[in-house]
């Protein structure tokens, strides 16, 4: 690892090598241990780390509890959403099963259409072709 690579990594990940990506950590630690320049880069990065850490918002337990209470109140006021895999799959599964039953029932109950003769077939083809525009495939 070169000192420039080390500097780039410190600029991204800060002054604690233990928080750098594992793939570069060992090389970085070796360089930091043997190079005053690398150690100075780390110290500089660490200074910014500490400035940022000082800005970390503090959240009191009371505030968190109050918010949790509000969430619980809002949930209690709302109807319960569908839960679990059974409920999530029940509606689509029953809809599909109903459609299948109706389809099979109609198929068995309705009489079959009589076979179409040649003249009727020709009429159907001519009428259907006339109903289709030349650029139908662009629509």
């Amino acid at each position: 690892m070169t000192i420039d690579e080390f500097r780039q990594l410190a600029e991204a990940w800060g002054g604690t090598v233990a928080r750098w990506p594992s793939a570069v950590r060992a090389d970085a630690e070796a360089l930091a241990a043997g190079s005053p320049h690398a150690a100075a880069i780390l110290a500089d990065a660490d200074r910014l780390d500490r400035s940022l850490a000082a800005l970390r918002p503090q959240v009191s337990a009371d505030r968190a509890d109050r918010l949790a209470g509000r969430v619980a109140t809002r949930i209690a006021a709302e109807p319960a959403p569908a839960r679990g895999w059974l409920q999530r799959w029940f509606m689509p599964a029953t809809s599909f099963a109903s459609a299948a039953v109706i389809g099979v029932g109609l198929g068995l109950a309705l009489p079959l259409a009589p076979p179409i003769n040649g003249a009727e077939l020709l009429t159907v083809l001519v009428v259907d072709a006339g109903a289709v525009t030349p650029n139908w495939f662009l629509q």
């Binding site: 991204a12 990940w13 928080r19 400035s51 000082a54 509890d65 839960r83 679990g84």
Partner: protein, 187 residues
């Protein structure tokens, strides 16, 4: 039943079954983190409160979508907080600094010098001025101390892209703080 020894993921299985006590336990564990994360990103305590509440409402409503095989609860929650916080920022025209945010005292002996206070205010202003995704990267890595991999996953980006965001964020803060210091030195 407090669920003290149950993992977050086990609790989520119960939440998905409609157990609001399990949700309560999860909120007890992670509400503070959700608020802190949201406040770091939005820089506004009222927005942070709203985001944190909406996060757990979403956890409740979408619990069945959580898949422990794809990651831990904390990563999933962080993703929700991040998305809601960014939505909140995009709904705002300006991003005023919130004077009521209570920051950790960085000095062990509680003596904050004027120079240190100025520097902190300067870093704070620089953080607030960052583009939202750069700020999110800094918050997840520095405030929440998430690993690069977890933070990248929470932002739904690759580790390299996350590294790039962090680099640009830190450079921008340095430059802005240096410019502020130069301005203060001018007569």
């Amino acid at each position: 039943m407090g669920g003290g020894s149950e993992s977050d993921e086990d609790l989520m299985a119960r939440v998905a079954g409609g157990d609001n006590r399990a949700l309560r336990t999860l909120m007890g564990r992670h509400m503070g983190r959700a608020v802190r994360m949201a406040e770091g990103i939005t820089r506004n305590s009222a927005d942070a409160d709203d985001v944190a509440q909406d996060t757990f409402l979403r956890v409740w409503k979408q619990a069945s979508r959580f898949d422990p095989a794809r990651g831990r609860f904390l990563g999933w929650m962080s993703q929700i907080v991040t998305n809601l916080s960014i939505d909140r920022l995009r709904g705002r025209r300006t991003e005023p600094l919130d004077p009521d945010i209570d920051y950790a005292d960085p000095s062990p002996d509680a003596v904050v010098t004027l120079v240190a206070a100025q520097e902190r205010a300067s870093v704070d202003a620089a953080l607030a001025a960052l583009p939202e995704r750069q700020r999110v990267a800094l918050v997840l890595f520095h405030f929440e101390e998430m690993s690069g991999r977890d933070a990248a996953a929470a932002m739904n980006i690759g580790e390299k892209a996350f590294e790039s965001l962090l680099t640009r964020a830190r450079i921008a803060i340095r430059e802005r703080v240096a410019a502020g210091a130069a301005d203060r030195r001018r007569p």
